[in-house]
């Protein structure tokens, strides 16, 4: 199996993200691998362990993205490629999908490409299906269970109504939901190996493409209107008295 896993570097989920002077800032919070992409790495490693082969992590990003890549290597990915080019700042998802599809094609002979369900910075969750569309591969997104049998794959996809059970032929694109199972922690050996790894960088030229045009632009980023709430603490008396008061307050707001 030749397996690719696409990862993005994002500010830590606990970061306080604000707009300062028109720019997005996350203070001194660390940049980390997108949490959903850890599930993608886990799924990729499980397939490799079951079927043999290699796992290559790919990330579009700046030099700093190497840290996110190293997390994937420390978890057990065999090697990695950083796609870095000054023309690739502020990509929208369709442009990212064009670059990732080109990289997957250039890697050649790929059987499975794993994605996170969503990047927690832009919160789009559409790059996987867009990349699948470009490649002409089945989009087995939001998978909770993946079973490969020869060149065929059967997945259980999480949908609002439960699970949809789908079969398809490889190669295919996958994204993972949390039900898939928790990602492993990097091992000590893995961390050592990752810290020494050479991560080759590809430019757009290496991919034989020019910078894809972005279509979506976001000229304005704002702090959300602050929730002007002052909490009224309901106290005094027995639990019954408190509950009576609280119920009356809630009913008075006429939202029930």
């Amino acid at each position: 199996m030749k397996i690719i896993v696409c990862i993005k570097q994002v500010p830590d989920s606990a970061a306080k993200v604000v707009v300062e002077g028109g720019k997005v800032s996350w203070g001194d919070a660390p940049l980390v691998i997108n949490p959903w992409d850890e599930y993608a790495v886990e799924a990729a490693l499980q397939q490799k362990e079951a079927l043999g082969g290699t796992v290559t992590a790919i990330s579009i990003g700046g030099e700093s993205a190497k840290e996110a890549i190293k997390h994937a290597l420390a978890m057990g990915a065999d090697d990695a490629i950083l796609i870095s080019d000054p023309a690739l700042a502020n990509l929208d998802t369709q442009a990212a999908a064009q670059v990732l599809a080109a990289a997957i094609r250039k890697a050649g002979g790929v059987d499975m490409a794993f994605f996170g369900r969503q990047a927690i910075d832009g919160d789009s969750g559409i790059t996987p299906s867009q990349t699948a569309r470009l490649l002409g591969w089945p989009a087995l997104t939001l998978s909770a269970v993946i079973k490969v049998d020869g060149g065929n794959v059967r997945v259980e996809r999480a949908i609002e109504e439960g699970r949809q059970i789908v079969t398809a032929k490889l190669p295919a694109v996958f994204s993972l939901v949390k039900d898939f199972g928790e990602p492993r922690y990097p091992s000590f050996m893995g961390i050592r190996k990752a810290s020494r790894a050479e991560i080759p960088a590809w430019s757009l030229g290496d991919l034989g493409m020019v910078a894809p045009a972005t279509v979506i632009s976001w000229p304005e980023v704002m702090n959300p209107p602050s929730r002007e709430v002052t909490c009224e603490v309901i106290g005094g008396g027995s639990p019954q008295e408190i509950a009576e008061k609280l119920a009356d307050k809630i009913l008075a707001e006429k939202i029930l």
């Binding site: 604000v18 959903w36 919160d123 976001w218 709430v229 609280l246 809630i250």
Partner: protein
Amino acid sequence: MKTWVYVDHFKGQVLPASWEAIGAGKTLGTVTALVFGSGVEALAKTAFTYGADEVFLADDPALADYRSEAYASTLSSLAAEHKPDAILFPTTTRCREMAGMVAMDLKTGVMVDVTALELQGDRIVATRPIYAGKLLTKETCSASPQIATLRGRAFPKPAADTGKSGTPTKVAAKVEALTNVEGYATTEGGVSLIDAGVIVSGGRGVSNNPTLTPPGGLDEKQTEIWRAQQGFALVKDLAAVLGAAVGASRAAVDAGYVPYMHQVGQTGKVVSPDLYIACGISGAIQHLAGMRTSKMIVAINKDAEAPIFKVARYGVVGDLYQIIPALTAAFKSKLGK
């Protein structure tokens, strides 16, 4: 502006955000609703009652199951022929996927999970939360059609007017697909979190009642889960009286108190009910990410310093084991149940 709205459904059950999207579409111009499936003519008729000016119906046995390739191709080829200015979808799992694919086919982009729309000339300016709602952006799409998925409960649902009717326009399905649907497995039912008007959520605190005596023979973990079940029973009773859905923090899910489908937050569901009651939840930033846009938040927590009180309109500093049953009883009598 010529606006299309895709109506998402599962075996004829429409996800309500679809009707909200028709309402939002009407604020932009004329609305053509798109109904795809097999044996779904009745839905096409319903779309008129929610305000669609026209309905395109692709009714084909090959569309009986949602398959992204076939559905996206059907929509893309229609759009290539009729050239709408905008295509709106509800933000659902199927529609995120379809919208993304259609955008690739038509060489345009998607504004995902939008919470407000306005029109500037012929461009839609879409407001959407990013960084789990920590920030908002205003986005535009420079290509045509402009595609957006709209967050559920962010736009008012139009009232159905049963007096309105029309004849759907039959359109051809593109049936080629790369996937085969073997079937479905259901997970636990209950009120859907995303559509719920009221949510009662429990956190790690629900397992914290030292006065309860667990049955003998349980190990430490089993005892914790047993305690949590007693606590969640209270949460569920309150939810039942309010017709509410049950939510949970990640700590409660990870500890095995309730299944993941109940998780609210950055890595769970993003919800926006009219009323959110948080019980034994501290209010970590990742939890707030999933519920901070609720119209009214009520917190029950024994720690007066818990950050959840910063977003709450009403708070009770106390033991949830005492407060929740009393609150359930109070609502029962006040609501006449």
